[in-house]
Symmetry: C2
Subunit: 248 residues, 2 copies
């Protein structure tokens, strides 16, 4: 019989932002594996479950831990914040899974920060958009820069994940400088800090102002497109409906 | 006192793919408004609730219906498939909401087709990606073409929503032809039909093959980037981890 690992997206952190399917997978698991911070988010509900983790940057080791636990006959749930398939562990699990053909993998999707952050700001990604991570640990900065340029050229709304870290304090400013070669200074932007956790804040500002903002690691940034406006304090990207006819 | 409308993303359709927050909003609502198909998906659980709808293409009228019901003092939930803020009704509600300052709007995010479709195919959007709709009802084809070109130039994974309809049978082929100017014919792609509903199917093929596929309206298409591969029948976009060291 094949053994089984569920790769579970838990959303931004609050239990009620998880799907029923994700909760069910965690309830059925014998062991929950994850980055320590994500295990903490689940502590209240799943304190009786066996929980295992590896530190940050030890993602490969965390994946191997999952397969080894599964080989013992345990049903394993690997938790990822947001969606397991968006900058989560799903692809690395499939890669490492080549060495463990007896283990069946399934991905359980969750609400990613582009969705949850957008909902707090208003409706900024209600039309075509790009998602770009500024982390250059696994991707060259040349490629990140190329993607920022392409996204600006295409007039996409741009959602930026991992805009900053201890070692990359100026990366958001660098990204804004690249975008400012194509996009006007007054372009409407916004960002959300600590989505789904205590201390959630939303900010709306121009691209020029965004360039000088200090944001933390768990911030999601939204760069509007040419159809993005502020309506009653909310960031809204229009889809193109003609509304004059209804305002008679 | 302000009256209240929740704009609720219900995910792909299956109840266990909704978040707890979305279910709670529907339970608390006095009236649920939505496109008839989405109301059908909720029928079993919410058959005792008042449910109102307008036909396809009458999105403005559906929004106004929500505000009028809210003005009667009812707590309204407007349901959207997937995420309410991704090609959903959130931005139109904020626009029309300018005429209804006494009504408070909140968006409840859900699992969008990019996430749910990706989870069924494997892990195709595990790195930077773009989401593009091929519907030219509200967007000019010139703009769609520009975005397809920019996405290909940026080596993004591309997720295509609304790839086809009765009146736009050849749009996916047209989009593939544009992408084929930049991307090689053998690029790995995939698509999912009827996500979260009966008759879900997944297909993996090359971009050249995708060009000649006939897909229905409720299909989500994924064009891989240069790091996308097929691993054990799954579509996986690598993030750049170096795995040789662990295979000793």
């Amino acid at each position: 019989m094949k053994n089984k690992i569920d790769i579970v997206g838990i959303g931004p952190g609050r239990e009620d932002m998880m799907t029923g399917e994700a909760l069910c997978a965690l309830e059925q698991a014998d062991v929950i594996v994850g980055y320590p911070l994500y295990l903490d988010l689940l502590e209240e509900r799943f304190q009786k479950k066996e929980r295992l983790s590896t530190p940050m940057r030890q993602e490969k080791e965390r994946c191997i831990l999952c397969f080894r636990e599964a080989q013992k006959g345990k049903h394993v749930a690997l938790v990822c914040s947001g969606d397991a398939g968006i900058y989560g562990m799903a692809s690395l699990m499939y890669e490492i899974g080549k060495d463990y053909p007896q283990t069946e993998l399934s991905v359980i999707p969750g609400v990613t920060a582009a969705s949850s952050g957008a909902s707090l700001l208003g409706a900024p990604i209600n039309h075509d958009f790009c998602v770009i991570s500024l982390s250059d640990i696994l991707t060259s900065w040349v490629k990140i820069e190329k993607r920022l340029n392409a996204a600006a050229e295409g007039d996409f709304v741009i959602v930026i994940y991992n805009p900053s870290s201890h070692k990359r304090k100026d990366y958001l400013a660098r990204a804004c400088d690249i975008l400012l070669c194509t996009i006007e200074e007054e372009r409407i932007c916004g960002y959300v800090e600590n989505i789904g956790r205590s201390g959630t804040t939303t900010t709306i500002c121009t691209l020029k102002e965004l360039r000088n903002k200090k944001v933390n690691m768990v911030t999601t940034v939204f760069i509007g497109n040419t159809d993005t406006h502020v309506i009653n304090g909310k960031l809204v990207t229009k889809r193109g409906y003609h509304l004059d006819a209804i305002r008679q």
